[in-house]
C-alpha cells in the first residue's frame, strides 16, 4: 500500500511540472497556423398571404467558413451551414491546388461549376428569393456533391476557362432535383462548363457561359441539366465602390434521355438588372419564368405541390452600410397557371451579418 502511494506521489511530482510547463508555454500549442475563420448569419422576415404560415422574422442560416493553406500543394476551404431546422450541412469542404500550370484542381464536397446563380452562397444572392427555375433544375443553391473538378485557363488572348468535373452518384433530395441515383458501377455524373469573359471597355465586361451536367438516374435513364448565361457588368474605375450595374440573364433546363429521345422536364430562366446607387445603396429588378415547375405557393386544395408555368417579377433595394452587413427589402408578384393561388404577392426583409474573415465573392 505504501509502495503504491509512493509510486503515485512520484508520478504526480514528475507529471505536474510537465503539465504546468505545457500550459505556460504557448509555443507547444501554437495557433499561428490556424485557419482564417468567418461567419455569416441570415435572417428573413416575410409576409406571404398565400402561405399558411405566420408573418415575422425568421432565422435562415448561419454559415461558418474556415480557410487555410494545408501545405505547399493545397489550400483548404470549407463552408459549414447551420440551418433553421437544427441540421448542419457541410455545404462545401474542398481542397484546391494550382500547382499545375493553367489548371485549378478542386476536390472534395463541391458546389459544381454550373451556370451563374448556382455558384452563389445564399447571402450573395442578388435577390432574397432564388429564381424558381433553380430549385426545379439543379437545386436552389446549385449542384452540391462530392467530386473532383479541373478548370483549365486556356492560352487564348482573352479569359476562356474550360471546366470538367466528375461527381459521386446521388439521388433526388430536397436540395438536389437531379436524379443521379443509379447504383450502376459506371454511374459517374459528369460536368462540363465554359466561361468566356472579355473587357468591353475600361469599366464593362461581357461574359458568356455554358454548362452541362449528366448522370444516370434510379430509373436507369440518363438525366441531364443544361444551362447558358450572359452577363454584362460595369464597375467604373473611379467609382468602384459607389456605382456600377449588372445586367444578367440565365437559362436552365433539366431533362432525361430514354430510348434515344430526350425529354425536357423543367426549364426556365431569368433576366435581372442591379444598379448601385451609392456606396451604401443597391437596387435591382428581375423577371423570370419557370415551366413545368413547382414553388411554395403552387399547391392544390389539399396543400400538395402542383407543377405548372409560373412568371414572377421582383424588385428590391438594399442598404449596405459596410461590406459586412446589409438589410434589404424585396417585393415580388407571381402568376401561376396551376394550383389554387393564381397569383402571389409577397414582401420580404432580409438581414445579413458577417464577422471574421470573409473571402471576396467571385466577380
Amino acid at each position: 500500500m505504501r509502495l503504491r502511494m509512493l509510486a503515485c506521489l512520484l508520478a504526480v511530482l514528475v507529471l505536474v511540472p510537465g503539465i504546468a510547463m505545457a500550459q505556460a508555454n504557448n509555443s507547444l500549442y501554437s495557433n499561428l497556423a490556424n485557419p482564417a475563420i468567418g461567419m455569416n448569419a441570415l435572417f428573413t422576415g416575410q409576409a406571404v398571404p398565400t402561405l399558411n404560415q405566420p408573418y415575422g422574422l425568421g432565422f435562415d442560416e448561419a454559415e461558418i467558413s474556415l480557410l487555410s493553406v494545408v501545405d505547399p500543394y493545397w489550400t483548404f476551404s470549407s463552408n459549414i451551414v447551420f440551418l433553421a431546422d437544427h441540421t448542419v450541412d457541410p455545404e462545401e469542404i474542398w481542397a484546391r491546388s494550382v500547382n499545375i500550370p493553367a489548371v485549378q484542381l478542386k476536390l472534395g464536397k463541391l458546389r459544381g461549376t454550373f451556370g451563374k446563380h448556382g455558384l452563389l452562397h445564399t447571402h450573395a444572392f442578388p435577390f432574397i428569393q432564388a429564381p424558381i427555375v433553380m430549385a426545379n433544375t439543379i437545386g436552389e443553391e446549385g449542384f452540391k456533391d462530392p467530386g473532383v473538378e479541373a478548370a483549365w485557363l486556356t492560352p487564348l488572348p482573352w479569359y476562356v476557362e474550360l471546366t470538367a468535373g466528375a461527381y459521386q452518384a446521388i439521388g433526388v433530395s430536397a436540395d438536389n432535383p437531379l436524379d443521379f441515383g443509379s447504383t450502376r458501377h459506371d454511374n459517374i455524373p459528369l460536368l462540363g462548363h465554359l466561361k468566356s469573359l472579355i473587357d468591353v471597355n475600361d469599366a464593362t465586361t461581357f461574359e458568356l457561359g455554358a454548362s452541362a451536367l449528366q448522370g444516370r438516374g434510379s430509373d436507369g435513364n440518363v438525366h441531364a441539366a443544361y444551362g447558358g448565361d450572359v452577363t454584362f457588368r460595369n464597375v467604373p474605375a473611379r467609382n468602384s465602390n459607389r456605382h456600377g450595374w449588372i445586367l444578367q440573364g440565365e437559362y436552365l433546363q433539366k431533362g432525361a434521355r430514354s430510348g434515344g429521345s430526350y425529354d425536357r422536364e423543367q426549364d426556365g430562366g431569368y433576366a435581372s438588372f442591379q444598379y448601385r446607387l451609392s456606396q451604401v445603396w443597391w437596387m435591382g429588378v428581375r423577371g423570370e419564368q419557370a415551366r413545368q415547375s413547382v414553388t411554395d405557393f403552387m399547391v392544390d386544395q389539399a396543400g400538395a405541390a402542383v407543377a405548372g408555368t409560373v412568371h414572377r417579377a421582383s424588385a428590391n433595394i438594399a442598404w449596405t452600410p459596410s461590406e459586412f452587413s446589409f438589410i434589404r427589402l424585396e417585393y415580388s408578384h407571381a402568376k401561376a397557371d396551376a394550383g389554387v393561388h393564381p397569383t402571389d404577392d409577397r414582401i420580404l426583409l432580409q438581414l445579413s451579418y458577417t464577422i471574421g474573415y470573409h473571402p471576396a465573392h467571385a466577380y
Partner: protein, 310 residues
C-alpha cells in the same frame, strides 16, 4: 505568287524588326507605384504592369477574370502587402493558375517587407472602428523613403530570379535611391514653410506622407475607414475645422469629391484632388512625378489664404 511570297516575307520581317525586345522578367503588381519602382529597378530586363489603375481605389479593385488572365504568365507578382489588396488578390492570384506567383513561391513578393509600418493596431482589432487594416497602415508608398526600401528589396528579388542581370538590378536600385534622396530634399524644401500645418484627407492614407513632411492630420472626411460621411458628420467636421483654423481637404480621384468639397466649403477652405498613386491624375506618370504633383498641390493649397493656417 512570287509577289505574294515577297509581301509575306516583308510582313514577317516587319513583325520581327518592330517587335520589342523580350524582357527577361514579366512583372505584375497590385499598385501602379510598385510597377513604377519595379520598372525603374528592372530597367530593360523587366516589363511591369499594375492590375490596379492609378485612378482606381486600391481597396476595391473588382476581381475580374481578365486580371487573372493578365498575370497567367507573369514571372513575379508584387503585392502591396498589409492586406491593402486583401479584398481581391486572394481571388485573382489562384485564378491566374500560375504556380510561379502564388504566395510561398519565389515569384511572389510582399513589397511591405522591411518597411517601417505605421499605425499598427495595439490590442484587440474591432470593425467597430470601420474597415481597418489589422496589420497597420498599408499606404507606405506615400513615403519616398519607404519606396527606397521597396527598390532595394526588388533588386534582391529580381537578382534571385535572374542572376545574369543582378549587377544591373543593383545599379538601378542604387540609382533609384539616389534620385529619390535628391528629390526628397527638393520636396522637403517645398513643404518646409508649412511644417506643422494640418490637412484633412478623405481616407487615412496620408499618414506616411504627413509623417515624412511634418504635416498634421486633423481628421478624415470619412468618419471611419470605409464608412461614408453623413451630412451631420460633415457639418461637425467642418465646424471643428473652422474652430481650429484647418482649411485644406485632400481627396483622390476615386473618392467622393462632393463630400470633400462640402467639408471644405463649410469650413471656408479648399478641397484639392491629389494623386496618392502613380497615374492618379495627369502628370503623375511615375513615382517621382507623382510626388512632384502631390507636393506642389498640397503646398499650393496651404499657400492660399484659405489653406495657410497652421
Amino acid at each position: 505568287m512570287k509577289s505574294l511570297i515577297v509581301i509575306a516575307v516583308a510582313l514577317g520581317l516587319g513583325v520581327v524588326t518592330t517587335a520589342p525586345a523580350r524582357a527577361d522578367l514579366k512583372v505584375a503588381t497590385s499598385l501602379t507605384d510598385l510597377a513604377s519602382v519595379a520598372q525603374y529597378v528592372g530597367g530593360k530586363h523587366v516589363t511591369a504592369q499594375s492590375l490596379c489603375r492609378g485612378y482606381e481605389d486600391p481597396h476595391f479593385v473588382p476581381a475580374k477574370p481578365s486580371l487573372m488572365k493578365a498575370i497567367q504568365n507573369a514571372d513575379v507578382y508584387i503585392s502591396t502587402g498589409l492586406e491593402l489588396d486583401g479584398g481581391w488578390l486572394p481571388l485573382v492570384l489562384p485564378g491566374s493558375r500560375n504556380p510561379k506567383i502564388q504566395p510561398g513561391a519565389k515569384g511572389f513578393v510582399d513589397a511591405s517587407q522591411g518597411v517601417d509600418v505605421l499605425e499598427k493596431p495595439s490590442g484587440t482589432v474591432s470593425r467597430a472602428e470601420g474597415d481597418i487594416h489589422p496589420l497597420g497602415n498599408p499606404h507606405y508608398y506615400l513615403d519616398p523613403k519607404a519606396l527606397e526600401v521597396v527598390a532595394s528589396h526588388l533588386a534582391d528579388v529580381f537578382s534571385g530570379l535572374d542572376p545574369a542581370n543582378a549587377a544591373d538590378y543593383a545599379a538601378n536600385a542604387k540609382q533609384f535611391n539616389e534620385r529619390m534622396e535628391t528629390s526628397l530634399e527638393k520636396w522637403e524644401k517645398q513643404l518646409e514653410p508649412y511644417k506643422g500645418a494640418s490637412i484633412v484627407p478623405y481616407h487615412r492614407n496620408f499618414t506616411y506622407f504627413a509623417d515624412r513632411f511634418g504635416l498634421k492630420l486633423f481628421s478624415t472626411v470619412e468618419p471611419k475607414p470605409g464608412i461614408p460621411p453623413s451630412p451631420h458628420y460633415i457639418a461637425d467636421l467642418a465646424e471643428s475645422m473652422k474652430k481650429s483654423g484647418v482649411t485644406v481637404v485632400t481627396y483622390q480621384p476615386y473618392y467622393n469629391a462632393d463630400a470633400s468639397n462640402q467639408v471644405a466649403q463649410k469650413a471656408g477652405g479648399v478641397a484639392v484632388e491629389v494623386p496618392s498613386e502613380v497615374g492618379g491624375v495627369k502628370g503623375a506618370d511615375d513615382v517621382f512625378s507623382k510626388f512632384d504633383v502631390m507636393v506642389s498641390s498640397i503646398a499650393g493649397a496651404l499657400a492660399t489664404k484659405a489653406g495657410g493656417t497652421k
